[in-house]
């Protein structure tokens, strides 16, 4: 794993999802499609590089998201991105994760992430929409966006993150 390159690419992803992607989302999906590409990168790091890089990426970029777009409160994304990425690493580190399993895990984690964020905002009374509405309005469409991105990024992410020695063994992608 080339640490410098991974960090540079993740910074680029963060810039992309906050500046260019909003211009590409059609008007009818405004406020519904939420790109979490950095979170997907953190999950890939958890699966293929280990739980500590995942925790690192999750915490740093979660904090960036929190502070740069500080609206209601701080800490939601830092906590959720850090903990979910770490948990993924803890459970799947060192195991062989084929593509479909990886996509399934990412979809599950994105669902967990968005739902937990909604839960925190609801507890602090920042939002008062019912969960069913938010689920259909933004969580479900975003899930597809994230899975699509994960599919597109699977090969480069795995090539970049996986340790060199192990790679000779499984070249099944």
């Amino acid at each position: 794993m080339n640490t410098k390159r991974v960090i540079a690419l993740t910074v680029l992803l963060f810039m992309l999802e906050t500046t260019i992607v909003p211009w590409l989302i059609p008007e009818s999906m405004h406020g519904r499609l939420a790109p979490h590409f950095v979170f997907v990168a953190a999950l890939y790091a958890g699966m293929y590089a280990g739980r500590h890089p995942a925790l690192f990426i999750g915490l740093i970029f979660g904090m960036m998201q929190d502070i740069v777009f500080y609206g209601h409160m701080l800490g939601v994304h830092t906590l959720l991105m850090g903990s979910i990425a770490y948990l993924t690493g803890l459970l799947l580190e060192g195991k062989r994760v084929p593509m479909l399993a990886a996509l399934f895990v990412i979809a599950l984690c994105c669902f967990l992430y968005d739902s937990a964020a909604y839960g925190i905002y609801r507890v602090f009374r920042v939002t008062h929409e019912p969960y069913e509405f938010v689920l259909m309005q933004s969580i479900a469409p975003s899930l597809f966006l994230q899975t699509g991105f994960a599919l597109a990024a699977y090969v480069p992410a795995r090539r970049l993150l996986e340790p060199k020695a192990k790679k000779d063994g499984d070249e099944e992608e």
Partner: protein
């Protein structure tokens, strides 16, 4: 000592212990950062400003590119639009003459009535142009970042408008950039609830308070309208300027429905926002005049 070691045996799994501590720390951070904060700490300022500095290199070119494609697609509408604009300009030129006359007369009358300097400057709101540099990806925290900060005199809760109407309120202010919370996040139940007092263009005596947004209907909720109020469907809702924070006359939206409110004593109206909330490139921050004393800090409901 025995007690303590027993306590530690429960947390023999060190990870569980760490997890608990982390949860407590984050709950504290969230609670602490939730309310109104006029000044941020230096780590927040540093991270916020330096990241936004890089983001502005991406957002604007992307906007230009998107705009280019938009232009090609809407080429056919341009002729019609041009025709309409020509009519508007003709009307504007006519109104301009009228406006100049009325303004002169207004000045003269103010002199005659011996208005104090402070009263004269009360409505000298300044519209400062700001460029959007980035948009949040969180649908429940959909802030956007503008390139004006506390060094440019921006304070929390200032109104942000586009040419269409009111877009949002300044939420947090960094030295060089600030975050803007769209008015679609107005929420009467939250701890730091903001409320905008409003009236309608057609009837000056109308009054209501906008403090909520119904995401399911996509409309703002205007409460506390008196039963005898002349407000009706189709009216253009504007800020009333009564609190001194938001100037008089910012367009908020149009009335869609009006019905009896929750308690039956007052009426509630649903308002379709006039402004667009996505693909923003330029916005205006409304800076109230500095009158030497702090104006009423928040527009409270009566």
């Amino acid at each position: 000592m025995g007690r303590v070691s027993e306590l530690f045996r429960i947390f023999r799994n060190r990870k569980l212990f760490v997890l608990l501590i982390v949860l407590i720390v984050f709950a504290a951070i969230m609670g602490f950062s939730l309310g109104q904060r006029d000044n941020l700490t230096w780590p927040e300022n540093f991270v916020g400003d330096s990241v936004s500095f890089v983001q502005q290199w991406f957002y604007k070119p992307a906007g230009y590119l998107a705009g280019l494609f938009e232009d090609i697609r809407t080429m056919r509408d341009i002729y019609r639009e041009n025709e309409e604009l020509r009519n508007t300009v003709a009307r504007y030129a006519r109104d301009r003459v009228m406006y100049n006359r009325i303004e002169l007369e207004n000045e003269r009358l103010k002199e005659a009535l011996a208005f104090k300097e402070r009263q004269k400057r009360m409505f000298d709101y300044e519209y400062v142009i700001a460029h959007v540099v980035a948009v949040s990806t969180d649908p429940l925290n959909p802030t956007f970042k503008i390139n004006l900060g506390s060094t440019d005199g921006i304070r929390p809760d200032m109104a942000v408008v586009t040419t269409d109407g009111l877009v949002g309120l300044v939420s947090r202010v960094f030295p060089l950039y600030s975050t803007v919370m769209p008015i679609t996040q107005l929420n009467g139940e939250s701890s730091g609830a903001r409320a905008i007092s409003a009236t309608v263009m057609e009837h000056k005596e109308s009054f209501g308070v906008i403090e909520d947004y119904d995401a399911q209907r996509g409309m703002l909720v205007m409460n506390r309208i008196a039963e005898s109020d002349p407000l009706s469907v189709g009216d253009v809702v504007i800020t009333s300027g009564l609190g001194g924070v938001y100037p008089y006359g910012l367009v908020i939206g149009t009335v869609e429905t009006r019905q009896v409110g929750d308690f039956g004593l007052t009426h509630t109206a649903y308002i379709k926002p006039a402004a667009q909330f996505d693909k923003l490139a330029e916005v205006f921050v409304v800076v109230p005049p500095d009158l030497g004393e702090a104006p009423a800090s928040e527009e409270e409901a009566p």
